[in-house]
Amino acid sequence: MTVPYEHLVKDFKILQQQVNDEPLVYLDNAATTQKPEAVLKALEAYYHTSNANVHRGVHTLAERATVQYEGAREKVSRFINAPETAEVLFTRGTTTSLNWVARSLGDLIVEEGDEIVISYMEHHSNIIPWQQLAKAKKATLKYIELTDEGLLDMSDAREKITDKTKILSLTHVSNVLGVVNPIRELTDYVHAKGGVMVVDGAQAVPHMSVDVQALDADFYAFSGHKMLAPTGIGVLYGKRQWLEQMEPLEFGGEMIDFVGLQESTWKELPWKFEAGTPNIAGAIGLGAAIDYLENIGMHEIMSHEQNLVAYLMPKLEEIDGLTLFGPKKASERTGVIAFNIDGVHPHDVATAMDMEGVAVRAGHHCAQPLMDYISQPATARASFYLYNTMADADKFVEALKATKEFFLHGLD
């Protein structure tokens, strides 16, 4: 199937506007994505026809809301090929998912002197929960080195992952370098050492087909808002063998079985982790986003982004004084491109490109250890998604060249 990507824009009203008198080219998709009409309509339909609290009450709306909320869970479960739907927990987003694992699994299996291994390319949300855990348990937090191209250094990974490693937590796709990590290989390695594999999938699930069974990951976390769904909804997949043993982090309504004066018991999975009224509309919106993505096809989306990168890279490499971070080969990366123009601060680049209608991110991208590692205080970043076209890529290159000219001319 050839997807008419130029026509997808019609599904996203927000993209059909002018910013600073220029047609908007939205290239900040690694931060958050826009929402198609289908997702917005699903939210509206839920509030117009079915809004009620879930898992309580016998009235018709309560039943409708429950069926739709649990239906969304089933969609997610199928989308990532989870062995069973009960292993799919709804959270606020990747950050919450990773914090749950660090605190609850960390409490269960990490002891003084143990090791937790991450890498230099992690997002802050896959660093700080482990720092906190390591401090609390007097465990050691170790970082896997990167190669010059920004790939995980696999020989260093083999050295850092030892018999003392209780948890290996890695990003599936870097939010700065765009690099895709060989998760299955690393999972097998840490399993052989007796450790648990945790994967930050925030930048992977929106862009490629993810099969948690094929990866054999013990935990897999991602966010809805980076894959066309609303903010405030995310997922934590976890293997039953671990989730059964783990204690919930929040207590209250929804998650209890029987409540006594001094003791209570928890519901079964997945509800034991979901205290309080959940983000019902958000989950339903996530379900609608999955429908939208599956209608196009995840393999199609991935190849579209790789085509864009393959088209862009030679044009970018031609620009003098432009530094690109991450692997050069389109086949090794997603549509995330971090760059710097020599002598121009990324904030100035982002402001100038904004004047051209091109929305890019500038800063440390919530990855300060990575910025230190690549010796950059900050970078600019363009991140493409399914609704971006070759014309957007051209506009990006044109704006980049104009920006460079403006500052170099002005500084002469």
């Binding site: 220029e22 601060h345 904030h347 209608g357 500038a362 800063g363 440390h364 205080p377 900050a378």
Partner: protein, 154 residues
Amino acid sequence: MALTKLDQLYRAVILDHSQHPRRRGVLDKATTQIELKNPTCGDVIQVQLTVEEDKITDVRFDGSGCTISMASASMMTEAILNKSIDDALMLVNEFSEVVQGNKPEHERELGDAMMLSGVSKFPARIKCATLSWKALEKALAQNGTGVDGQLKHD
């Protein structure tokens, strides 16, 4: 060409200060020094002052940041040199008005820093312009002895 709109922010004077910053460097004997970071972008600025009998007799800045933050720091050092602590703090407030698009009372004393008035049309960049001035304000707290905890006394 849409980039002509950038001229209202990146005026020649600003680009000149950024490219050729005044009073950038390190003082041999500072009485107060402070480092301030903008956590959202990673910009870092150090401001060093020599305060003698309530007067700023020398000032330097150093650090890394965008055109706006570096130019603003350079302009700030020019504006406050040889000013009293109270006058310098007054200029901090005046500058804060300027970058919000308001007209200050002491336009002449702000000097080149007035050129940053265009930043008011770029709200995301106001923090870049005010970073060095915030650092100065903290350094001048408590009669020029600075704010505890953020100071480095060598």
